[in-house]
Amino acid sequence: MATVETRGLTKVFTEGKLGAVNDVNLLTREGEFMVFLGPSGSGKTTLLRMIAGLEEPTRGDVLIGGRVVTRLPPRERRIAMVFQSYALYPHLSVYKNIAFPLRAQRVPEPQRRPKVEWAAALLGIGELLERKPRELSGGERQRVALARAIVREPSVFLLDEPLSNLDAKLRASAREELTQFHKRIGTTTIYVTHDQVEAMAMGDRIVVLDKGVVRQVGSPREVYDDPADTFVATFLGSPPMNLIDHGDVLAGFRPEHLLPAALVEGPAVSITVRVTGVEYLGNERVLYARIQDGRFAEQRLIGRLPSIYRVEIDEGEVVRLAIPEHDLRFFAKSDGRRTAPRSLAWQ
């Protein structure tokens, strides 16, 4: 087991342009499940590929287990990687796919078989060893890719969007399986995804990336409840955080914190809005509204009302809503960063 560290890691593909990854400093904890989360083009995969040794950094260093590996080829880094496409060797049987890393390490044949069988059993694919990859379903392929990754007991696991090729139903169960799997083997894992649900559900910590820059590193709770800037605030959460223009700051609050005034206890800010649309989603209602009058008139808001509240709200209605004060977050308008809370006069 080992930690992964990056020091000022930068990748510039086109000279003179902004890099795909810019000055990234990260340090995983021993056995941590760290998630790189960002929209496409945020540099998360490039960052992972530099840690794997598949991409050469323009500047900076990668350390695995405290050792600088920046100039080492992938095979000398004691890592295993699962690719988005799984990258199984199509001409080899499942057994030979899983045994390949062992062969590459010159593990003698008699010691190979028990290891392959151990890995296959761990992932429940012991029955498939003689099949070819093309005879497997998406979920089975993903397990083979995982088995191939763990078979030589790497010190670090790198996973590049391994669930994105599965259908939605399978994805949820595979997510939970991956979490269990990580708990059992306890290897430091870096997981790249653009899916915030995966990130929130699986990550010990989430690294939010945008345009090759780390915006925030923190536990799922931290990045969701205490976003470091407006990018994190609006990228996480669906629908995204409401941001209200308030002089030199932006006041933000999550849609689920915008509730009918009667339901909110304690200190709260209340506003009158005109409901412009209601979406009934079964477990909740999504409200689209505009602030009725006062200095913020006509600003758009989105609210989420869990179905346990049976309050009647219809399109076109004018209602009074409120946000608990401790759920308000403030961001500087100039750079989008978090600033100190202040009292708001809404109307």
Partner: protein, 295 residues
């Protein structure tokens, strides 16, 4: 669906040129070759008398023919071996982008796009016994004696080697292009996964890349075999089968015996010898093509 009468006529009319073309240019000569091979036709005669397998018996007894048969195999196998290994190396070198890759690709393709007779004449000069630029270069490097250089086209073994090398030079671009297509069709993830799994260049190449390219290599190889087995240009221009028939292959021997020697029947019998071999190769080719479709 029933076709209208007019449509059927139009369809037939559109189809006829292709049919005529195939019958006229492929069918008739093939049938003639079979007929000639069992007749007594010569360039000067007008009659035709069936002689059975007499022509085959007579060519089989000729040592020149048996030599040509052996040379054909040596020529094809060695040239294809060189081409496949060379094309693999070139395809690997040309896969990843580098400065001037387009130019290098163009240059490598040149031997294929230039008329083979021109290329072969160029090589004839370069390998000439007196003016050979190859020997000049080797002499400058002190690898051969300036006054006793190798006779590239004048000694049986050297002549065979020269013919094989020039033909390989000519076939190389074709195979390179095919293998390059096969190589670029392999998803990038797969060699990368092999690299992460701990495989070095050789293991990745021989255990992952080459097996994945097997179908496309088979296609290149089978085309190459047909092109080489039926080709006589290089032999004809460089050596004319000489010295002492030591470089004759079946097509050149058939041409010399049938056209230049005047014994059409004998030439036809030699050509017909090629048919079963080529049918076998064509069958293998279709099988491979079919298999790659299925996978």
């Amino acid at each position: 669906m029933a076709m209208r009468r007019g449509d059927r006529w139009l369809g037939a009319a559109m189809f006829v040129p292709a049919l005529l073309y195939i019958v006229g240019l492929v069918g008739v000569p093939l049938i003639l070759a079979f007929l000639y091979s069992v007749g007594d036709v010569t360039v000067g005669s007008v009659g035709y008398r069936f002689v059975g397998l007499a022509n085959f018996r007579s060519v089989l007894q000729s040592s020149a023919f048996r030599g040509a048969l052996v040379h054909s195999f040596v020529f094809t196998v060695s040239a294809q071996l060189i081409v496949i290994v060379g094309a693999n190396i070139l395809a690997l070198a040309l896969r990843d982008p580098f400065r001037g890759r387009g130019l290098v690709r163009f240059l490598i393709l040149l031997p294929w796009v230039a008329p083979i007779s021109l290329g072969a004449i160029g090589w004839k000069w370069m390998l000439d016994s007196i003016y050979s630029v190859v020997n000049w270069g080797l002499a400058r490097l002190h690898l051969v004696k300036p006054f006793d250089p190798p006779m590239w086209l004048g000694e049986p073994t050297l002549a065979m080697i020269s013919v094989i090398l020039v033909h390989a030079w000519r076939m190389l671009p074709f195979s390179t292009v095919i293998l390059l297509a096969g190589l670029t069709a392999i998803p990038r993830d797969i060699p990368e996964a092999a690299a992460v799994d701990g495989a070095g260049f050789w293991r990745t190449h021989f255990e992952i890349t080459l097996p994945m390219m097997k179908p496309i290599i088979a296609v290149a190889l089978l085309f190459g075999i047909i092109f080489t087995f039926t080709d006589m240009t290089v032999v004809y221009i460089l050596t004319r089968g000489g010295p002492y028939d030591s470089t004759h292959v079946l097509p050149s021997y058939a041409f010399f015996a049938g056209i230049l020697g005047g014994s059409l029947a004998e030439g036809a019998a030699v050509s017909v010898f090629l048919v079963p071999i080529l049918v076998l190769v064509a069958w293998a080719m279709l099988r491979v093509a079919h298999r790659t479709e299925v996978v």
